[in-house]
């Protein structure tokens, strides 16, 4: 069964056009002008049960709007959504029993009271039986090491502590789908990796479907088998992370440090016949870009015989870089021309 099915989903917003200046403002007082903007533009995708899917895109690409539609907060302008067998915006109260939501930027805990009190309250709100609640809470508290924090008021928690509590709050009613909107925002590396581990565990042991938005691609690398990339309201990539890398990765960069001065013409002559591109930083330092389908050793065998090499570094194109390129070109279709350096 599919956990999430989305077909031609669209959300238009009506944006008020403010006329500038005093005269414009006075006109706006009596008659206003609006403009329709598609925040989410006819997107379709399905997420099977038990998958962890990353949902990425620049600010304003439509990620939050999609999440809000999937969680039943917003009603779509058109298109079909089915989450957990429900249409989220109909039967909202029944539907939300089966999902968990964490907004990284916004707390769902009560500010002034102990964390455990918030959990107790949520137990009542979600009508979880005392026995289930206790079992579930014990597991989560154990797993996330919250024992010390339970009696503290939320306002006394650090951001990392609070975020772990937010996760517990969203999971107390054992939802089968969890939506995480930027769950690692503002956290330090240690807490980030703790949360990633926890989510991975949750997915493995409970089969929980997870959809998360993030700006931290390491979240995606650590967690997601699949990534959906959004730009200006449309999906520009939907598939495996590895796929994205091989399609988009520009191969490897091999950086040579030479013992004596080397000319550009020499470099090109050495690798004659190989699809290698050279970039020179100085007389002593040059980088060869090696395509993914070619062995790096071929370049070594050519170069090492010709000149004295004092140091070599090999690096792969990072996901960050790939995504940055996709954002700046606005499409995940691999460009025909490789951008030459």
């Amino acid at each position: 069964m599919q956990a999430i099915e989305v077909q031609d989903l669209r959300k238009n917003f009506r944006i008020q056009q403010s006329r500038g200046g005093l005269k414009g403002a006075l006109q706006d007082l009596f008659a206003r002008e609006y403009r329709e903007v598609a925040a989410v533009n006819d997107i379709s995708f399905t997420i099977p049960q038990g998958e962890i899917c990353g949902y990425i895109g620049e600010n304003g690409a439509g990620k939050s709007t999609t999440i809000k539609m999937l969680t039943g907060i917003l009603v779509p302008t058109s298109g079909h959504i089915k989450v957990n067998g429900y249409v989220p915006y109909q039967e909202r109260e029944k539907f939300v029993q089966g999902i968990g939501v964490v907004f990284g930027q916004r707390s769902q805990l009560w500010w002034d009271i102990g964390v455990i009190e918030s959990f107790q309250l949520l137990r009542k709100v979600y009508q979880v039986s005392e026995a289930d609640f206790k079992k579930r809470l014990d597991e989560l508290v154990e797993r996330l090491q919250l024992q010390e924090l339970l009696s503290r008021p939320v306002r006394k928690l650090s951001l990392g502590q609070r975020m772990r509590c937010e996760l517990v709050a969203a999971l107390l009613h054992n939802p089968s789908i969890v939506f995480l909107d930027e769950p690692t925002i503002g956290l330090d590396i240690v807490v980030k990796s703790e949360i990633r581990e926890f989510l991975k565990d949750l997915n493995r042991t409970q089969g929980t479907t997870i959809l998360l938005t993030t700006h931290d691609l390491q979240d995606i690398e650590a967690l997601c088998s699949r990534v959906i990339m959004l730009d200006a309201g449309s999906i520009i990539y939907d598939g495996g992370l590895d796929d994205l890398k091989t399609r988009w990765g520009r191969g490897r960069e091999v950086r040579f440090q030479f013992g004596g001065a080397v000319q550009a013409a020499q470099l090109n002559a050495w690798t004659m016949g190989l699809p290698v591109t050279w970039t020179q930083e100085s007389d002593l330092v040059a980088t060869a870009l090696v395509p993914a389908d070619m062995a790096v050793s071929d370049v070594f065998s050519r170069v090492l015989g010709q000149a004295e090499v004092t140091d070599v570094q090999i690096s792969e194109t990072s996901t960050d870089e790939i995504v940055r390129q996709i954002y700046s070109s606005g499409s995940a279709e691999k460009p025909e021309e490789q951008p030459h350096v």
Binding site: Q16, V75, R106, Q108, W110, E117
Partner: protein, 261 residues
């Protein structure tokens, strides 16, 4: 039953929160009482210059005020929408409300419970007893059940008006909403409505029916024949206004979910 359980849970949470800010609790209670006291001062000053107002004596007007305080206290305790636009729309907490499995309006009521307001209701009853004594009103057996019915009716009207006004936040773009503008108007239903001209009487009876949270139901206990019919309309108006407000609220939420932010 589910909702009753939630009221209790939120109430205990309220108490726990309050215990951490004990000084504030008393500031709030005292400022609430002073708020009521200033209203009484208005009545006393006015009657220093006139014997009757629209055929009502000072003790009668004070009695009406006492009645008003009872539903007002209940309303303030359970239906506190004062900061709705700012907190839920502008700061976006409405999204969190909508991811939880209970009616949105009810969740907002619960998150803003204000039990100290109930002290006002108690004082209202004391004022009614005291001014009733001055008027020589005999306590009759039907006073208590009728008072309960009227109080529920008035509270529903009050709630209805303010839910309607709050729903405007879904349609308007102003962070404060228009509720602060109503602060003075809500007091007008406490004076003998016959002193106003026709247009204002109609407004206070049918449009912003604050007269049902004051003069009309109180007139029943004061045995004012001319307002008897209106007094008995109180529970009916309560149901009508409260139902209308729920419908408007639901359509406002629908709009919110349609328009997003």
């Amino acid at each position: 039953m589910y909702y009753l359980g939630l009221i209790w849970e939120y109430f205990t949470n309220y108490v726990k929160t309050r215990l951490t800010y004990r000084a504030d609790f008393w500031v709030e209670v005292i400022s609430d009482l002073l708020f009521q006291a200033t209203n009484l001062i208005f009545i006393f000053v006015v009657f220093a210059h006139t014997e009757t107002l629209g055929g009502f004596t000072e003790a009668e007007v004070v009695f009406v005020y006492g009645y008003f305080m009872v539903p007002y206290g209940l309303y303030s305790c359970f239906i506190n929408l004062w900061n709705f636009g700012d907190r839920y729309i502008v700061k976006g907490e409405m999204d969190r409300i909508l991811t939880r499995p209970a009616h949105s309006l009810f969740q907002i009521f619960l998150e803003n419970l204000d039990p100290p307001s109930l002290i006002g209701s108690v004082i209202g009853i004391i004022i009614m007893i005291w001014s009733g004594g001055q008027l020589g009103l005999e306590m009759e057996w039907w006073y208590i059940p009728v008072l309960i019915i009227m109080t529920i009716g008035s509270t529903l009207i009050y709630a209805g008006i303010y839910i309607i006004l709050t729903s405007v936040s879904f349609y308007s773009d102003s962070p404060t909403g228009i509720i602060p503008l109503m602060v003075n108007i809500q007091t007008y239903g406490r004076y003998p409505i016959t002193i106003y001209n026709r247009a204002i009487q109609i407004i206070l009876t049918w449009v912003l029916p604050f007269a049902f949270v004051g003069i009309y139901p109180a007139a029943l206990f004061l045995q004012r024949q001319e307002m008897m019919a209106m007094a008995w309309l109180t529970p009916v108006m309560g149901i009508v206004f409260f139902t209308a407000s729920l419908l408007l609220w639901n359509s406002g939420v629908k709009r919110y979910r349609g328009a997003g932010s």
